[in-house]
C-alpha cells in the first residue's frame, strides 16, 4: 500500500464556544487516488463527528463542497490529495460569506442575488405542442454559462464582491447572460437594464479570478464583458438616433 499522511489545519467555528473560532490540525492516512472530500469524511467518521462541511455528489456536479484550500477556493471532491501532500494544508470556508459552522457558509445572499435577476426563462407564449427550434450555434453561445453549478466559489475569489456584498457577483451575472443570450427569452432589454449599474456589470474589476477558479470552466467575465458591449452599443445607437432623429424623422 502506498499510503502517506496528510496533515490538515482546519479553520473551525462554533458561535457557542469560547473562543468561537480556532484552528485544529488533523492527520489522516491517505491512499493514491483519494480526494480531499473523502479525507474530510474520514475525519468526520473516525476523529471528530462535529467537523461540519457540506457534501453530496462527490463528482463535482452538485456544488456543495466549496472551500478554501491553501487560499484557493476549490471543490473538495475535485481536489486530489496527491497535490496536497508534503506540507500542512490550510482549509478554510469560502471567503466573503458569513460562516455558520466550520466550513459551512451562509449562501442566502448568493441566492438572493440569484433571485433578483429573475432566473427563469421568460418564453414567448405559444399554442404549439412541439419544442421551439434553436440552432446549434445559438446553443453553443449559451452552453458555457449553462455549466454553472452555483457552488459560489467564484464569489470567494471575486475582489468586487469582497469589497461590496451588493455586487451581484460572477455566477449571477453569468446566469443573467445565459438568459440574455437565449433567443427563447423575451427580456433582452430588461436584463441589460438590471445589470447596467455598479451592482451589475460595471462593478466587475475584470481580473478574471472567477474564470480561473471555476471548477466547471464557466467564464463569467466574458459574459460581463459581452453585456457591457451590448449596453455601450445601445447607448451609442440611441445617441446617434437622438442626434439624427429630429431631421430624419420629423413626424416622430
Amino acid at each position: 500500500m502506498n499510503s502517506s499522511t496528510l496533515i490538515l489545519k482546519i479553520k473551525r467555528y462554533n458561535p457557542e464556544k469560547n473562543p468561537s473560532s480556532w484552528e485544529e490540525t488533523f492527520e489522516v492516512e491517505v491512499r493514491k487516488g483519494m480526494n480531499l472530500l473523502e479525507t474530510l469524511l474520514r475525519i468526520q467518521d473516525e476523529q471528530d463527528p462535529t467537523l461540519s462541511f457540506r457534501y453530496s455528489c462527490r463528482g463535482a456536479v452538485c456544488g456543495s463542497c466549496g472551500m478554501n484550500v491553501n487560499g484557493e477556493p476549490v471543490l473538495a471532491c475535485r481536489t486530489p490529495v496527491e497535490r496536497l501532500l508534503g506540507k500542512v494544508v490550510l482549509i478554510e470556508p469560502i471567503p466573503f460569506f458569513p460562516v455558520i459552522r466550520d466550513l459551512i457558509v451562509d449562501m442566502s445572499l448568493f441566492f438572493e442575488h440569484y433571485r433578483q435577476i429573475k432566473p427563469y426563462l421568460h418564453g414567448k407564449p405559444t399554442d404549439s405542442d412541439r419544442e421551439s427550434l434553436m440552432t446549434e450555434t445559438e446553443r453553443k453561445e449559451i452552453d458555457p454559462y449553462i455549466q454553472c453549478i452555483l457552488c459560489g466559489i467564484c464569489f470567494g475569489a471575486c475582489p468586487a464582491f469582497g469589497r461590496d456584498a451588493q455586487f451581484l457577483g460572477p455566477a449571477i451575472l453569468a446566469k443573467a447572460y445565459r438568459f440574455f443570450a437565449d433567443p427563447r427569452d423575451m427580456r433582452s432589454e430588461e436584463i441589460l437594464k438590471e445589470v447596467n449599474n455598479q451592482r451589475g456589470v460595471w462593478g466587475c474589476n475584470t481580473v478574471f479570478q472567477c474564470v480561473k477558479v471555476c471548477p466547471k470552466e464557466v467564464p463569467p467575465t466574458h459574459a460581463i464583458v459581452k453585456m457591457r458591449k451590448k449596453i455601450l452599443n445601445h447607448r451609442l445607437a440611441s445617441f446617434f438616433s437622438r442626434c439624427s432623429s429630429p431631421h430624419n424623422h420629423p413626424s416622430k
Partner: protein, 567 residues
C-alpha cells in the same frame, strides 16, 4: 409546540419533488419543499445521458412512436413492469420533455433545430433526448428556476425524522433542523415523498453520498410495504476508483467495451445490440469478463472512445471528459477509460399507482423512491428522468385535487405524541454508552451488500447476508454516540440513516433470497432462468417486529405478453 402547516409538503427537492411542487402550486395550493440539502445539490443533478421520449426527431427506417417506447421499456423490464403505467409514462413523456424545453432546457439540437436524440441501451430507436451529457444538471436547474419563479418555499437542510400517521392516514411529518437541532412537526393535507434511491447501501455506487433511501424507510417504518426491493440496478460503466457514473451515452455515441485481450467482448453476450444491450446484461457481461480473468488488474475493463474523435467527444461528451480528467487523470480523447459496474438505481420502492398514491391516504411518492412500477426488473437508461417528470407531475396534480377536497386540518394530538415518542427514544440513544460506531457498521453493510447481494447472487451468499444483517441490526443497538448536542451532530444523522439503510438492506436480501429465478437485474446463479409460471409477481416487503414479511401481487399486463428476452 411549534407546528408548521402546508396544504402540500414535498420531501426531497430533486426532479420528481420539484416537478410535483410546480404542479401542485399551479393548482393553487400552498406548497413547500423540505430537503436535507439545497435542492440544487440533489442527486438528479448528476444524471447525464438523457431522457427518452418518442419525439421522432432523428431519421430512422421507420417512425418512432410511444408504443415502441413502451415495448422497449417492458421488454427491458424483463416483463415485470406494470404495463398500464409504462403506457402512461411513454405517452405523457413527450409532453413533459417538450415542456422542459419551453421552460429553458438547453437541449442539444438536430441540424433542423429540433431536440437531438441519441441511441441508448435496449432501445430500438435513437430516442434519448439530451443536453450534451449533462441532462440532469440542465433539468434540475430549470425546475429550480421555475420553482423560484413561483416562489415555492424550501426548507433547506431540514431532515425528515418520521411520518405522522393516524388510522392509515398521513398527517404530515416530524422534521429536524440540521443546524439548530429543533424538532418541528409539519402538518400537511398531502405529503409527497421524493427522496431518491438508496444506492449508498452498496460499497460501489454511482449515487451521491446523500442517497440513503430515507423516504423508503420513512414509509416502511410507518407501515407501508416496499415493492420489488431485490431489483437493484448495476450500471455497466462507472469510473474505476471513485465509481462516478460514465454515461451510457458514451456507448450511445459509439464507444466500445474492450477486455484485456483487446476484444469487443459484447459480441459474446448481446451480438445484435453489442455495447447497447440493456444495463443488466452489459453489467453482467463486464463482471464476467473481470471474474474470468479478462479484465485489467482483476478490477475493470476499458471503455474506449478514442475512435469517436476529439470533436465528437468535446461536443457530445464534455462532462465525461471533465470527470475522467478530474477524477482519474485520463483524457478519453487519447486513452481508454477504466470502468467497472457499480450500483446505480433502485427499481423498487414505495408502491404507488399511476397518480403517485400510496396505500396510505394523504401519502404520495414519486421518482426513484417510488415503485409505479415502470422499470420492473431492469430500468432502461433514459427512463429515470422521464419517470421523475411524468409521475412527479401526476403525483403533484393528484395530491392537489385530493387536498382540495379535504376539510381544514383538525387539531390532533398525534404530532405531540410522536414528538414525545421520538424525544424519549432520542434521549435513550444519546445516553447509551455503547462500543459500536456508526461508520464501522455502515462500512460492513456496504461491503456485505456488494459482495453477497450484488450482480451475481446465490442462495448460500444470501443466507449468509441475512445472518449478517441480523448481526448488524443487533450491534446497531450498541452504538454509542460521541456527542450529545443535537445541532450539527453529524454522527446522529448517520445513526438515523444507518437505521434506515439496515432495514432497506434487509428487504433487498429477503426479497432476493425468496425469488428463486433470474429476472432483469436479479440474477441467481442457482436459478439462472426466468420463471414466469411462479415469479411473474411483484414482491411486497412488510416491516414486522422480527424483520421483514414478504407478500406478492400480480403484474399488470396489457398489450405485451411476456416473451423470451434476447438482444
Amino acid at each position: 409546540m411549534d407546528l408548521l402547516s402546508h396544504d402540500i409538503l414535498i420531501i426531497g427537492g430533486g426532479l420528481a419533488g420539484l416537478r410535483a411542487a410546480l404542479e401542485a402550486k399551479k393548482a393553487g395550493m400552498d406548497v413547500a419543499v423540505l430537503s436535507k440539502v439545497h435542492p440544487l445539490r440533489s442527486h438528479s443533478v448528476a444524471a447525464q445521458g438523457g431522457i427518452n421520449a418518442a419525439l421522432d426527431n432523428v431519421s430512422a427506417p421507420v417512425h418512432d412512436t410511444w408504443q415502441n417506447h413502451a415495448f422497449d421499456t417492458i421488454k427491458g423490464s424483463d416483463y415485470l413492469a406494470d404495463q398500464d403505467a409504462v403506457e402512461v409514462m411513454c405517452r405523457e413523456g413527450i409532453e413533459r420533455v417538450v415542456e422542459m424545453e419551453r421552460w429553458g432546457t438547453l437541449f442539444s439540437r438536430t441540424e433542423d433545430g429540433k431536440i437531438a436524440q441519441r441511441p441508448f441501451g435496449g432501445a430500438g430507436f435513437p430516442r434519448t433526448c439530451y443536453a450534451a451529457d449533462r441532462t440532469g444538471h440542465n433539468f434540475l436547474h430549470v425546475l429550480y428556476e421555475q420553482a423560484m419563479g413561483f416562489n415555492i418555499p424550501v426548507y433547506e437542510e431540514w431532515y425528515a425524522l418520521s411520518l405522522v400517521v393516524e388510522d392509515g392516514r398521513c398527517l404530515g411529518i416530524i422534521a429536524f433542523h440540521l443546524f439548530d437541532g429543533r424538532m418541528i412537526p409539519i402538518r400537511a393535507k398531502a405529503t409527497i415523498l421524493s427522496t431518491g434511491g438508496y444506492g449508498r447501501i452498496y460499497l460501489r455506487s454511482t449515487n451521491a453520498i446523500i442517497n440513503t433511501g430515507r423516504g423508503c424507510y420513512l414509509a416502511y417504518q410507518a407501515g407501508v410495504p416496499l415493492e420489488d426491493m431485490e431489483f437493484v440496478q448495476f450500471h455497466p460503466t462507472s469510473l474505476y476508483g471513485t465509481n462516478i457514473l460514465i454515461t451510457e451515452g458514451a456507448r450511445g455515441e459509439g464507444g466500445y467495451l474492450i477486455n484485456s485481450l483487446g476484444e469487443r467482448f459484447m459480441e459474446h453476450y448481446a451480438p445484435k445490440l453489442m455495447e447497447l444491450g440493456p444495463r443488466d446484461i452489459v453489467a453482467r457481461a463486464i463482471q464476467t469478463e473481470i471474474n474470468e480473468g479478462r479484465g485489467f488488474e482483476n478490477e475493470y475493463v476499458h471503455l474506449d472512445l478514442r475512435h469517436l474523435g476529439k470533436e465528437k467527444i468535446m461536443d457530445r461528451l464534455p462532462g465525461i471528459r471533465q470527470i475522467t480528467i478530474d477524477f482519474a487523470g485520463i483524457d478519453p480523447i487519447s486513452k481508454p477509460i477504466p470502468i467497472q459496474p457499480a450500483q446505480h438505481y433502485s427499481m423498487g420502492g414505495i408502491p404507488v399507482n399511476i397518480d403517485g398514491e400510496t396505500p396510505f391516504k394523504g401519502l404520495y411518492a414519486a421518482g426513484e423512491c417510488s415503485c409505479v412500477s415502470v422499470h420492473g426488473a431492469n430500468r432502461l437508461g433514459g427512463n429515470s428522468l422521464l419517470e421523475t417528470l411524468v409521475f412527479g407531475a401526476r403525483a403533484g396534480k393528484k395530491a392537489a385535487i385530493n387536498a382540495k377536497k379535504e376539510e381544514e386540518m383538525k387539531e390532533t394530538f398525534s404530532f405531540q405524541h410522536q414528538c414525545d415518542l421520538f424525544q424519549s427514544s432520542l434521549n435513550k440513544i444519546l445516553e447509551r454508552k455503547g462500543e459500536e460506531s456508526c461508520f464501522r457498521l455502515r462500512d460492513e453493510m456496504k461491503a456485505l451488500m456488494m459482495d453477497q447481494v450484488g450482480i451475481f447472487r446465490k442462495e448460500s451468499d444470501l443466507i449468509a447476508a441475512k445472518e449478517k444483517i441480523k448481526e448488524l441490526k443487533d450491534r446497531f443497538k450498541h452504538i454509542g454516540l460521541k456527542r450529545k448536542e443535537l445541532a450539527f451532530n453529524n454522527e446522529l444523522i448517520q445513526y438515523f440513516e444507518l437505521e434506515g439503510m439496515l432495514d432497506l438492506a434487509e428487504t433487498i436480501v429477503e426479497g432476493a433470497l425468496a425469488r428463486k429465478e433470474s429476472r432483469g437485474s436479479h440474477y441467481r446463479g442457482d436459478f439462472p432462468e426466468r420463471d414466469d409460471e411462479h415469479w411473474l409477481l411483484h414482491t411486497l416487503a412488510h416491516k414486522i417486529p422480527e424483520g421483514t414479511k414478504l407478500e406478492y401481487k400480480e403484474v399488470t399486463i396489457t398489450n405485451y405478453p411476456p416473451k423470451a428476452r434476447t438482444y
